[in-house]
Symmetry: D2
Subunit: 137 residues, 4 copies
């Protein structure tokens, strides 16, 4: 299964008064990692959107096993967990780069839609994108 | 089951280039709603933290059924879904205030910890807080 | 000079590891206050955008005199400081609601543009909006 | 004058419904760039905080000359503009990496304080940090 890797350095603004990264930043890192994943297979999510396709989120799950701190260097790995003609699920793991400890994992399920956010069948409307993604599972 | 209500007005900064609220804002609204929930039962999360107890997140789930837009007025309802001596799970629903349509629901599972983020038994260390919360389930 | 008031309750996600609100949130609160200002004079910024006019930011200044903390109740006051056919500057003050202490003030200068972010003359393209705003200075 | 360079790739979450980066992200990028600046001179802001010194923001100015879009690669340059025993001002420029066009510049003035956010004289309390910074101006 194809896996991409994204490096994140924790920003001060991402911490909260607990002294650790606020949990709302992980979905944002997943998204940055997803962007890299798509880029690493020779496409770009910007171009996909320009072609009239969107990937709005349907479901998000995130499990917090450890904490990240300001200036920590992290690795986010990204895979496709599931793909159908109408939906795609990505799976992520977030590691501390130095300790190699898994601090978070999660997944995001997306619908393929048009610009008006109406669901569409990717196999029909963009078979090249669908086929490329499906091969990576 | 006790339910609190929180009103949110969508901020411009919360939108993304899809023209709708970015999904990473829902966990932040859950948190604002959780703050209100605790306040509505006569406590304050600030005071709980000052007493030396923290509620770091262990798991987050969020389901996106519809979109929210800039300036939309939303209602977030909050309940306790589950509580044990060491964990507490809140459940949230996000409605569009005008249409009354459910646009999102989700839950957050938290550990009770001390300031060093070590798990502790609330029944033992803060029975008053535990009992008050447990009654609301 | 017409002044609107907006109430903000500090969210946990808005704090950082210094234990106070991260400075990047003040511009977001200014924007929420600006939305309220426009609403309070009988318009809505959503409608202005739908009519094809945008108000992108040209300049931001913010002065931090004190700190805000989680759950603090704040008041943001908003005024129009300057207006011309092509630009508009808003001025904001942020007070702690309980102590009435000024913790921050700032201003944002905006251009009037079309959807493609090209500058336009409001007196010419939307004299009603311009006149209403100009009267409030 | 010593200048550090930081690379930023625009995240989807940083865009707004105007289709460009929301202005509140620039101060966050300044901060990431400031972190890199301090690291590039052989210190770390994490360590400075651990030694008991803080750099809370007193003033922020930001000028928006152009727009950044999702997936744009940006360069943020950072310099020390001014330094005294009690204050330090950083200056930033944000460029589009491909076009080399300046899209934003700004500055942040900070106070040197202790953990309780009380101002202190760096020349007296941390002459090594002060001297290292002052040399870079």
């Amino acid at each position: 299964m194809y896996t991409s890797k994204t490096e994140i350095v924790v920003r001060y603004a991402e911490t909260d008064q607990m002294g650790i990264v606020h949990h709302s930043n992980y979905p944002i890192w997943y998204e940055a990692a997803r962007t890299d994943f798509i880029k690493s297979i020779g496409m770009s999510y910007s171009d996909i959107e320009k072609s009239g396709f969107m990937l709005p989120l349907l479901e998000l799950k995130s499990c917090y096993k450890g904490a990240a701190k300001y200036e920590d260097e992290l690795i986010v790995t990204t895979k496709i967990k599931q793909i159908s003609f109408t939906r795609i699920t990505f799976y992520y793991e977030v590691y501390n780069k130095n300790s190699n400890i898994l601090i978070n994992y999660g997944e995001t399920m997306h619908a393929w839609t048009n610009k008006e956010l109406r669901p569409l069948n990717m196999k029909k409307h963009a078979p090249d994108i669908y086929d490329l993604m499906a091969k990576l599972m």
